[in-house]
């Protein structure tokens, strides 16, 4: 038997729960439960220290009851965000780059296309203009050929023609830039069509728009449109604007609120049931405190006389651990009576026999009471 007991000296068990601690400190445990708790305490420094600490404070159980996990939610969310945001930020950084690169490329391609179109147009125009003098020349040559003239005359005629063409060509280069600039004027559809396409690219179009978009078109497009609605909408928007600042923070608050909200929701119901039942107990407690003496022993005795045995045991729990032998034994005697009242005679016997074994001022009383308990037990059995 002893060998079996020895094997269980180093048994391991789970740490004490809130309920176990509460019932242990309140003295509402049966013998086996007390033994199990103390068996665990003997090998667990955490629970041993925790129980020591809780015995130091009167409001320990109240504070333990107040401790909930709500305060952890925000730090846990904050700790979870970096891990999530690291991946999401990486993806976000990647996506914009890809997305931002595309418009740049498309913008450049469009610009290239526009430039090519403009170049072709200019070349076609130039070619057509070049052809025009050529045709004149051809016509003149034809006229020259048809009109029988002298070689000198023809040469003289040709010379001014040649001189005219350079003059025309010289004049053309001056307008040559003009076709580029005037190209929009001549080929307005060609330029105006790319203009909206250029708008697609967000950052570069600012530079592109300036040369391509004529002031007339710009007036139609976004620039005047922006101030127009603002100025026009000012009187209209003022009423909604006033609520807006009020309305805009709420979304922020609403975004933030959902986190605290559950917390608040969780908090609310928890204290409520606590607060609701609390008021009734305090009042009897207050009454008890008013009626009961400050000395725990006397208070315990008073409670016992009122047959409030559990409360009496709770009151005397600490006294049973007192260093003062007389007080401790007195408390144990009272607790034994309480257990007797509750019908737990075995526990009462255990307590009384422990006093008899120890000896002291309460030894005689304990012996007497032991006999009484035994007699009652026999009567009960009969």
């Amino acid at each position: 038997m002893i060998k079996e007991d020895v094997k269980h000296i180093f048994d391991r068990s789970a740490c004490l729960t809130k309920k176990q601690i509460e019932t242990y400190l309140a003295g509402n445990m049966i013998t086996e439960e007390v033994y199990a708790v103390e068996h665990h305490i003997n090998g667990c420094p955490l629970c041993s220290m925790a129980l020591d600490g809780m015995q130091l404070r009167k409001d320990a159980l109240e504070v333990v009851g107040q401790l909930n996990a709500d305060f952890l939610q925000a730090p846990l969310d904050a700790a979870a965000q970096p891990a999530q945001s690291a991946t999401s930020a990486y993806l976000k950084n990647l996506k914009p780059k890809e997305v931002a690169g595309k418009p740049l490329m498309t913008g450049l391609k469009l610009l290239g296309g526009i430039a090519a179109c403009a170049g072709i147009l200019w070349f076609v125009q130039k070619a057509s203009k070049d052809k025009a003098p050529e045709t004149n020349r051809e016509e003149e040559v034809v006229t020259v050929a048809t009109a029988p003239q002298t070689e000198e005359q023809s040469v003289v005629v040709e010379e001014p023609l040649m001189a005219e063409t350079p003059t025309e060509v010289v004049e053309e280069p001056v307008p040559q830039p003009q076709p580029v600039t005037s190209a929009p004027a001549t080929a307005q559809p060609a330029v105006t069509t790319p203009a909206p396409t250029v708008k697609i690219g967000p950052p570069p179009p600012a530079d592109v728009k300036k040369p391509t978009v004529p002031p007339a078109t710009t007036a139609k497009t976004p620039v005047p449109a922006k101030p127009a609605p603002v100025t026009a909408a000012k009187p209209v928007l003022t009423p909604p604007l006033k609520p807006n600042p009020v309305a805009t923070p709420p979304p922020v608050v609403r975004e933030e609120e959902p986190r605290p909200q559950p917390v608040a929701k969780q908090e609310e119901p928890r204290p409520q049931p606590k607060e609701e039942p609390k008021p009734p107990p305090p009042s009897p407690k207050k009454e008890e405190a008013e009626e009961l003496p400050s000395d725990p022993l006397a208070a315990g005795r008073a409670l016992m006389e009122k047959r409030n045995y559990n409360a009496a045991i709770g009151k005397m729990r600490n006294e049973m651990r007192s260093n003062n032998k007389a007080r401790r034994q007195e408390a144990v005697m009272l607790v034994a009576r309480c257990y007797q009242g509750l019908g737990n005679k075995e526990r009462a016997k255990e307590l009384l026999s422990s006093i008899v074994d120890e000896g002291g001022p309460e030894k005689k009383n304990a012996k007497k009471m032991l006999k009484e308990v035994d007699k009652n037990a026999v009567k009960g059995d009969e």
């Binding site: 002893i2 060998k3 007991d5 020895v6 094997k7 269980h8 000296i9 180093f10 048994d11 391991r12 740490c15 004490l16 729960t17 809130k18 601690i21 013998t31 007390v34 033994y35 103390e38 068996h39 305490i41 003997n42 090998g43 667990c44 420094p45 955490l46 629970c47 041993s48 220290m49 925790a50 129980l51 020591d52 600490g53 809780m54 130091l56 404070r57 409001d59 320990a60 504070v63 333990v64 107040q66 401790l67 996990a69 305060f71 952890l72 730090p75 846990l76 700790a79 979870a80 891990a83 049973m320 651990r321 401790r328 034994q329 144990v332 255990e350 307590l351 422990s354 074994d357 120890e358």
Partner: protein
């Protein structure tokens, strides 16, 4: 499918939080040990509210620490975390009874060791108990062989329940060290 965290071991909960970031695992650990940490803080802080705040800060710190630290066994690590926090924030703390600190600093966590169930080891433990100091031996025998609780032993021996607890704890530490020493020699 949400796992039932209450059924999982401490070390599994730690692993789940550290590796997968499962908040439920951390909250389950708080549910198990939050009140115990608070009880320990009661020993060191002058007011209950300060102790409560300290407990909250300890667990908030653990949120980060548990991800980086290598934790083989959670309970010793938790006790170390609590003691470190209290030592670093000692401005509000109050001195604790010296005998308590000594008793608890020597106290070790029980480990699952099937060798203690061996008959030979049981005999060895019994012989070591017989060699213990008188008070320790008396308290251990009353507690483990006669199955009496601390108060009954205190009444039977004339010690205070705190003393009884101390004798049993110290006796157990002594037995454990002796058994481990013997087992090292027998089975290297």
């Amino acid at each position: 499918m949400v796992p039932d965290y209450r059924r999982l071991l401490d070390e599994e909960l730690v692993r789940r939080y550290a590796e997968k970031g499962e908040q439920g695992a951390f909250l389950a650990l708080f549910e198990r040990y939050g009140h115990i940490a608070l009880g320990i803080c009661f020993n060191h802080y002058s007011s209950s509210q300060l102790a409560k705040e300290a407990t909250q800060k300890i667990f908030i710190k653990m949120i980060e620490d548990m991800r980086t630290a290598t934790i083989d066994k959670f309970k010793p690590w938790l006790l170390k975390s609590i003691n470190n926090y209290i030592a670093w924030n000692s401005t509000n703390t109050v001195p604790v009874k010296q005998n308590r600190i000594i008793a608890h600093s020597q106290l070790e966590f029980e480990e699952v060791d099937s060798r203690y169930e061996d008959d030979n080891v049981a005999d060895l433990i019994y012989t070591i108990i017989q060699r213990l100091e008188r008070d320790q031996k008396e308290c251990i025998e009353l507690f483990y062989f006669n199955r009496k609780d601390h108060i009954l032993i205190a009444n039977a021996t004339g010690h205070t329940p705190e003393q009884v607890k101390g004798y049993i704890q110290k006796g157990k530490i002594f037995i454990k060290h002796k058994v481990q020493e013997a087992l090292r020699h027998v089975r290297p």
